[in-house]
Symmetry: C2
Subunit: 182 residues, 2 copies
């Protein structure tokens, strides 16, 4: 599950919590960029109706949103399955816990690891990823833009999870294990 940066700011108190969670350097950066954004917004006010984003801009936006989530999904399932299989073959055999319980413990390890790994995934995907296309704050606020970003994230994480299942190809399947036991 993802700590959603788009949901942390809904009242004064939560916004203050968010600001205080930032490092001083991050706060400075954010304050400077917000001032720029505010100036831009004030300048564009009263310039007539806003053009909706082009389909090329939306394609870029979708890719930009999907890429880090692909990375999160990939690592999440990869770590879960690798540790899950390991726990299943060691503790599982010895203590008699089920394969699904081993997967649950694998998921626990994957989630804890995710707290540290998330920042690396974001930086990496920023490096390789397509930048947000130049869109105005008004274009970004359009429901269509929001929807495409959300759907791209969902597809990204689903595809990442799917590809992250490749370690399964390296292990014997359950039926063989059952046959071994009998």
């Amino acid at each position: 599950m993802y700590k959603n940066i788009y949901s942390a700011l809904y009242d004064e108190s939560s916004t203050k919590d968010f600001i205080y969670s930032l490092h001083s350097r991050e706060r400075e950066l954010l304050f400077k960029e917000m001032q720029k954004c505010e100036e831009k917004r004030l300048k564009s006010e009263g310039q007539g109706p806003v053009q909706p984003p082009t389909s090329e801009q939306l394609r870029f936006l979708a890719f930009h949103n999907a890429l880090p989530f692909f990375g999160f999904g990939f690592l999440d399932n990869l770590i879960m399955i690798a540790f899950g299989e390991y726990i299943d073959m060691t503790l599982g055999m010895r203590l008699g816990i089920s394969t699904m319980a081993a997967a649950g413990f694998g998921n626990l390890i994957s989630d804890v690891a995710g707290i540290g790994l998330a920042s690396y995934v974001e930086r990496l995907s920023m490096k390789f990823g397509v930048r947000t296309p130049e869109m105005s704050p008004e274009q970004i606020d359009m429901p269509k833009t929001r929807w495409i970003a959300s759907i791209a994230r969902a597809f990204g994480v689903a595809f990442g999870c799917f590809i992250g299942m490749f370690p399964l190809l390296l292990f014997k399947d359950e039926d063989e294990k059952c046959e071994d036991k009998t």
Copy 2:
């Protein structure tokens, strides 16, 4: 894995990406609170060395950080295991995929669901959770404070994942399934 709000701001471009990802209402809130924070910081400058946070403040901080991550871990493992078991008992039996593969698909569903659910978990834990204790930006920036927040998040998610494994008690264990098959 968690989209880390503390990692999204490391250069001008990523900060701009972040600001543009916010809704207009969120941007307004953030800009207002940042101005307040900046005023506070300027006022406290030159008032001598900063006191480190008290142990009571750190306890509050730990609880405040652990609670939403407990929620994420709990839901993540709960959804993964519930869907994993369901897939294992339906598709798994029919297509012959292993229990670990079923868990992988369960995790895929859990991760996609997490994109939508994360905001509800945060709001809920804000409602029940202890607010960030009144700390100055300088106190928040201390390495000790950062470490305690990170460790609290890791413990929160691990404990949440563990408690989220309770559906396993409702299912037959693997050995019984193997016996059924033979």
